[in-house]
């Protein structure tokens, strides 16, 4: 799945990837990759600024730790982030319901070409 198809949904995806446990940036990307069975493919370097943006908005927090002698920034969901994730899920369910109702409805005889 190309990055363009994910526009408008990236925030929800990133929040969902952090729901279970705090993760560093690359682990977030790996989590997205694993959950989508490899379908979600993003230019990795642009995901970090998106995480920073969510942190600025108060939806994520971050801590610097050390791993293998390197500095590592680990992100976690804040309570505001959990609420935002719930909202994103509600919106997505509504979106799927509405579009599913239209796209999956069988074409009734007599309506074709009417």
């Amino acid at each position: 799945m190309r990055a363009e198809a994910l526009k408008g949904h990236l925030d929800g995806l990133l929040l969902a990837a952090l729901e279970g446990q705090p993760r560093h940036g690359y682990a977030v990307i790996q989590e997205l990759h694993a959950r989508s069975s490899g379908a979600v493919e993003l230019p990795t370097g642009t995901v970090y600024p998106a995480l920073h943006r969510l942190e600025r908005a108060g939806l994520l927090g971050s801590d610097w730790t050390r791993s293998g002698g390197r500095r590592r920034r680990v992100y976690f969901l804040t309570s505001a982030g959990r609420r935002a994730l719930g909202t994103e899920r509600d919106r997505w369910a509504e979106f799927v319901n509405v579009l599913g109702g239209v796209l999956n409805a069988p074409t009734l005889p007599g309506h074709v070409g009417a």
Partner: protein, 251 residues
């Protein structure tokens, strides 16, 4: 057939990663050192992780490093998206400082100048245009700091969840920053009017000290307000570059 040169070592792969990071650092040269260090440390950690993943799949170190770099995106794209975020952060930091300067200015004027020392209206010889200007300026200076502070607060609120691609919040944010700049410019002009029309009556040691502090605080606030507006413009410009690259995935 034997290879004419030895395969790239892990050290060479590391040099590839450092070269990539160095290019990003070059493109982020406008940012402060601490921010750049954080960006580089975070990216380096991710690149090494990505390289390790590729190596564990059997890729040689050089191919693993090249694949990690490919997945991260071009240095220009990464630097543009980081620049946008850094610029918004700087604008918010400066807006908070502007707000602090406004509060300091208010305290200096109202508590120091007006309450403690008193404005020497009576000392200005009536009737004259200088007295009228002096009185108008002392009235105006009471309203300009709150106006500028409102601009800074509007910017801080609008930019909390600002996405540089969002025209509404971006417009509100820029309007707040411009209001601050305008109010500060007006305040400095008004202060100059007060000082020139007030005459010798104003130049007591206490008033001089407060005036100097006021001018310093407001000049600092003006400089920071201009930075706020500049950073907001930079944030919008950088995200436009990312759009042009066709890879804006920051939202």
């Amino acid at each position: 057939m034997p290879r004419p040169f030895p395969a790239m070592s892990e050290r060479d792969a590391r040099d590839l990663l450092e070269g990539y990071l160095g290019e990003i650092v070059r493109l982020l040269a406008w940012a402060d050192r601490r921010s750049i260090a954080d960006v580089v440390d975070e990216l380096r950690d991710g690149l090494i992780e990505a390289t390790d993943v590729e190596t564990s799949r059997g890729a040689p170190p050089d191919a693993a490093a090249q694949e990690a770099i490919r997945r991260f995106g071009s240095p220009q794209l990464v630097a543009d998206t980081y620049s946008s975020e850094l610029a918004i952060r700087y604008s918010r930091r400066n807006a908070r400082a502007v707000l602090g300067c406004f509060l300091l200015g208010c305290l200096l004027w109202f508590l120091g100048y007006e309450l403690a020392l008193g404005v020497p209206h009576a000392a200005i010889p009536p009737p004259s245009w200088t007295r009228d200007l002096f009185l108008s300026a002392t009235t105006a200076i009471q309203y300009l700091p709150p106006l500028g502070a409102v601009g800074a607060i509007v910017h801080l609120i609008a930019s909390k969840r600002l996405d540089p691609g969002d025209r509404i919040s971006g417009g509100v944010s820029r309007a707040g920053a411009r209001l601050s700049v305008t109010a500060l410019l007006a305040q400095l002009i008004v202060m100059a009017a007060i000082l020139t029309t007030g005459g010798p009556a104003l130049w007591t040691p206490g008033r001089t000290a407060i005036t100097v502090l006021l001018v310093i605080a407001q000049t600092c606030a003006l400089a920071m307000s201009i930075k706020v507006a500049t950073h907001l413009r930079l944030a919008t410009h950088r995200i436009s570059c990312a759009y042009e690259a066709g890879s804006d995935v920051t939202r």
